[in-house]
Amino acid sequence: MMAEKKIEHGRNSLVWMENITKKFGTITALQDINFGIEKGEVRALLGDNGAGKSTLIKILMGVHTPSSGQIYFEGKPVQINSPKEAREIGIEAVYQDLALVNLMSISRNFFLGREMEKKIGPIPFLDLRNMEEICRNSLHDIGIEIRSASERVGSLSGGERQSIAIGRGVYFGAKVLILDEPTSALSVAETRKVLSYIENARSRNLAVIFITHNVHHVYMVADSYTVIRQGCCVGTYFKGELSEDDIADLITGDREC
């Protein structure tokens, strides 16, 4: 029997979700979950379908509010009532299809909701040229090369789109990046690139949470992983503590913690 060391987080962590319970009518999606993450930590959130991973993330993102429990951010208790508030605190979600508007250009997407303006007389207009330049430069800083910032996002590959959303989060000073299945439907080469951007974010001291089914990807980039099963947090472990099979067992419940 391996000795497993569970990581302890608490109110002094970057993010600490304490005793979070979420009910939808009579269904309990989450039951007394405790979840925490530190700066510069890359955490994989594992669990089977319907286990509650998405619900937990949505609470952090402001899409849902917990039925009971409290969230602490940088040591202070916070209420996150909308995605906008989550963003203001510094929590950015990078969902593959929900982060970008495919019909719009890269720079318009980059600055969506935070557009740069220049005034001509009393009237503010979009500062398109500046937006394009800053967009291209800041993506370059993260290691993402784009051909032209006025190219439509829809013409990029899945991995490129992910990278733009990640780059946007990093540029605007996100403290926590949340990714949902960031590498599903990507080629091997693209997966490697996306994982490298996650590394880059980590090196800038961002906390990264990514939901995944792919235990192998956990091994490639995560420092630690949290397993959720049927609305309960099974535990948070350092990478390497458990084998891939053990993790799978934890997810399905064939193994108790």
């Binding site: 995605p83 906008k84 963003r87 979600a93 969902y95 929900l98 982060a99 970008l100 508007v101 495919n102 019909l103 719009m104 318009r108 600055f111 969506l112 909701g113 935070r114 557009e115 303006e117 503010p124 207009f125 979009l126 398109l128 051909r147 032209s148 013409s155």
Partner: protein, 333 residues
């Protein structure tokens, strides 16, 4: 990026970069064809007639386009056009044209806001909401006016300013009938095209129509954007009603009937996506011109086996073809 190469590459580049190139090409193409094959088409009288016929639709299409880009529809614009016409005409005839102008604009904008509020608070698709308000607004108009038509013989100067003959241009072209509404329309087209493509609000309109979830996630106030677009749609319908009364000195409760689908057709022919997220005001204007040109052309052609009544069918076919063509262009890149 592609290195500048052959003419074919450059040509293709223009088509993929510009959203207006396609509709413009269609407009040009049909114009040339009709000029060659249809007698009397290529005359100033005919051409200015086409332009005039498209200004009323063009005005409504401006608002409809912006709304469609945000992902919604407004079927009540025809009724709002009549409301605008009655408010302006009625008060002008009672000696208060400026008040009439103001009320026509404010009331139609507010009725548009009501459309938007119903949409965001109930979640019912805009198609259905405005289908309902279309009959509601027109029904209320029936009741309030008791079905009375407005008609005036007074030629107040304001009518001339709004939609009188544009003699300044007319003097250069024999038998031309340019009207002032053309100027107002161009001002509005330029204004709203700038708003759409060069302002923060415009960026939000595209985002809301393209991916409302993404827009919401980035902090855009989706509800506010949609309500504003409905207000603009109502306002444009009101403007159209004002221009209508200024030109014909008359308005009936049934005025504007059918304008809703006509405006949607103009927007689609001009390259606006039914599903939202893409389009241009210039495109809508071009679309209105194309449809107006086809109408006129078919009537002038006097085809024996196609009575003039059936020109709607030909217009319908062209709308579908133009939409397919625009789609094809868009998907090429």
């Amino acid at each position: 990026m592609r290195a500048s190469g052959s003419w074919k590459t450059k040509f293709r580049h223009i088509f993929s970069e510009s959203t207006v190139a396609g509709p413009l090409a269609v407009l040009f193409g049909i114009f040339v064809l009709l000029s060659i094959f249809v007698p009397k088409f290529f005359s100033f009288r005919s051409i200015t007639g086409i332009i005039n016929a498209s200004t009323l639709t063009g005005a409504i299409a401006i608002g409809m386009t912006m709304l469609m880009i945000s992902g919604e529809f407004d079927l009540s614009v025809g009724a709002l056009m009549a409301v605008g016409g009655y408010l302006f005409g009625g008060l002008a005839m009672a000696g208060q044209p400026l008040l009439g102008l103001l009320l026509a604009l404010v009331v139609t904008a507010l009725l548009g806001v009501i459309n938007g509020v119903i949409l965001v608070s109930t979640g019912i698709p805009s198609f259905i909401v405005t289908l309902g308000t279309k009959y509601l607004y027109r029904g209320l108009l029936w009741v309030i006016t008791a079905g009375t038509m407005l008609q005036t013989v007074d030629r107040l100067p304001i009518y001339n300013i709004l939609n009188g003959r544009l003699e300044f241009l007319n003097q250069f072209f024999k038998q031309a009938n340019f009207r002032n509404s053309l100027i107002w329309l161009m001002v509005l087209v330029i204004l709203f095209q700038i708003i759409l493509s060069r302002t923060r609000f415009g960026n939000h309109v595209f985002a809301v129509g393209g991916n409302a979830g993404a827009a919401l996630g980035q902090g855009v106030n989706v509800r506010k954007v949609k309500i504003l677009c409905f207000a603009i749609s109502g306002l444009m319908a009101g403007i159209s009603g004002i221009l209508l009364f200024s030109q014909y000195y008359t308005v009936r409760v049934a005025s504007g009937d059918g304008m809703d689908l006509y405006a949607i057709a103009a927007a689609v022919v001009g390259g606006t996506l039914i599903t939202g997220g893409a389009g241009s005001i210039w495109g809508a204007l071009i679309g209105a011109l194309i449809i107006s040109m086809l109408r006129s052309g078919v009537v002038l052609m006097n085809i024996s086996f196609i009575p003039a009544d059936n020109f709607e069918a030909i217009v319908g076919v062209t709308i579908i073809l133009a939409a397919i063509f625009n789609n094809y262009l868009r998907n090429r890149n």
